[in-house]
Subunit: 369 residues, 2 copies
């Protein structure tokens, strides 16, 4: 680690799409970039060197989950999350805001913070904006996210407005807290699929001068057309000299559409979770490796792929490992899906750097299904 | 692969203990050697390169299981088991004889073979000595095992004698079958803990001139003292110029005792299965990584170990991964336990090559618990 402060260079645009480079204390990240998810400080089935070999340059962990397990005193013993998990590249942590929605039966939100019962053991915890930032500082991550209150898509208008205003107040507190050396803090814009609310909240958050801005509360069931609409209308209003992060997104089609809409950073469990469930991404669409037709298919999972799985193993072998519940299957399948995502990001970036509009359209077409 | 025929060099002895080198079509194996178990053509959680990095030079798969899943026509498509699983080193396959005991409710043994119901789908299959050898030839493995009939430890004397005589007849058939290029076939000696039966069966099998001899039917509940007695009394009667394989053994203490008794080859699921269950081997004995005292233990799993897990990760991190059911835990723990076994084999070999009796005694002492 160096003490390089966080910065972002915008290198090229192509329509609304952008290519850039983020600099962090643990290295640089070419954007648009997909951040591989390692919620608990580990990517499922992937040792750090295997992860690096997929082309991953930055990973995402969850500070709330790590706060609960293994606990900050354990991370402290290792000198931070990077050393504990053996990953020397950039790390972004989510703050737990999304869990305020997904775990809403286990918590109670008030004006100053959240009372939470831990899903694993029922223990009680108090999260506040200041404490969430302290957690991320102690984890030593390169990019911390403010604590926000992400309302469910079906919440009432007044609940949503309250959550949005609370998120702004919390963001101000978060951005005033001490930081680790070179650590960036990103703000989170809520507002659901209401373009006016999005515009208002974006203005409120941007005014707080975070190092980057994220769109939260999308890909929560609103459907791809609604998401595309919000992204393509909101992104152009976001500060052009700061990275723009679309949280929790998504399928390849979502990523292509949102890159074209002007977003730079993405994270999602889809490539890793789908891999474990037998779903492999290929140039010709997704395949379910459990399908009987792959039993005698000795071709690679995705014939055009350069990943270490496709270079060495067949669909028939992967299907065999999946059928016999060999855990090696998860590692090999995850390796492929993650590489597929990284190749997609590389293709998008190259098209933008080359101002190749037709290539961007071609990628959108390919993943339109 | 080359067409090197199988051979064995005996390089040194120290008491009854032996050091040697086996040559196979896929490379050589220094003995004494531990063969890592990959029953279905995969070592749990270990890509081939990670397995190689533990020091493994030879692995063991199970021809009966592979015959059932994925089936020989699938392996054929890949040109053999080595290519299918991406392992270019030697492979030994067990024939299914042990499963005649462990799956005894699913099969019916007659004089000419076995009727079997597949555990996975209930499909019916007929195994004969000739067909088992055909299977192993098609798998393309370096060392094939004859089909034997391994009786349960609590079977009657007459059942055991029948099984022994059947095993001899089957071994003769197996050794008369066509083989792959350079492929070795090992005979299996049964006889339980009865030294007279062992002597008789050894004489009968040795007369058939197999390329190596195995002791089967041990480590099935007879206890370590009985096993040590049978090994140390039987090994000296085995041909000195052929490798001696103790099937399905075992804990480090069993391996040290059996190397001192004169055996060369071992295989066992203990290092891999124990790893997945939280049991890590260390220089100071086994530890259960789930234990609360490891929660804040930032030392490596085994401070003296040179494996890629101990070089990079702490007990606290492994415990965290185990607690959160991360599958990466299995890969990291298995890597360590397998390296532990390979280091033990290296220590034993070096002691024998150096005629270092006191070092052998020291190893026996260390693992006596």
């Amino acid at each position: 680690m160096t003490d390089t402060a966080f910065s972002f260079e915008l290198l090229a645009t192509c329509g609304q799409a952008r290519a850039g480079r983020m600099h962090t204390p643990h290295g640089s990240v070419d954007t648009p970039a997909f951040m591989t998810v390692g919620t608990y400080g580990a990517v499922r089935g992937m040792p750090p060197e295997a992860l690096r070999a997929t082309g991953a340059s930055i990973i995402l962990a969850n500070s709330m989950h790590l706060y609960l397990r293994p606990g900050l005193e354990v991370v402290d013993l290792h000198g931070g999350l990077h050393a504990m998990m053996g990953w020397d590249g950039p790390i972004l942590t989510d703050s737990g805001g999304f869990q305020l929605m997904s775990l809403s039966t286990l918590l109670c939100v008030d004006e100053d913070g959240v009372d939470l019962r831990a899903p694993a053991d029922g223990s009680r915890h108090r999260l506040t904006p200041a404490q969430v930032m302290e957690t991320q500082r102690r984890l030593g991550v390169d990019i911390a996210m403010v604590l926000d209150h992400c309302p469910a898509a079906d919440a009432s208008d007044s609940f949503k407005r309250d959550a949005m205003e609370r998120s702004t107040r919390w963001a101000r507190i978060c951005l005033d807290q001490p930081r680790g050396p070179g650590q960036a803090v990103f703000g989170i814009v809520q507002g659901g699929v209401d373009l006016d609310l999005r515009r208002q909240h974006l203005a409120a958050i941007a005014e707080l001068e975070p190092d980057g801005l994220a769109l939260g509360g999308l890909a929560v069931g609103e459907g791809p057309e609604e998401m595309d609409r919000v992204v393509s209308q909101t992104a152009p209003q976001m500060p052009s000299r700061k990275p723009r992060y679309l949280m929790g997104v998504g399928f390849p089609r979502d990523i292509v559409a949102s890159v074209r809409g002007g977003m730079d950073l993405f994270d999602c469990v889809i490539p890793t979770r789908h891999a474990r469930n037998g779903q492999l991404f290929t140039a010709k669409g997704r395949i379910n490796i459990a399908n009987a037709r792959f039993r005698t298919d000795s071709s690679p999972p995705d014939p055009g792929c350069d990943c270490t799985t496709c270079q060495r193993f067949s669909r028939a072998y992967l299907r065999h490992l999946y059928s016999t519940k060999e855990i090696l299957y998860s590692t090999l399948a995850t390796t492929h899906n993650l590489r597929f995502y990284q190749r997609l990001m590389r293709d998008l970036r190259e098209a933008i750097l080359g101002a190749d509009t037709s290539r961007l359209e071609e990628l959108a077409e390919r993943f339109s299904a």
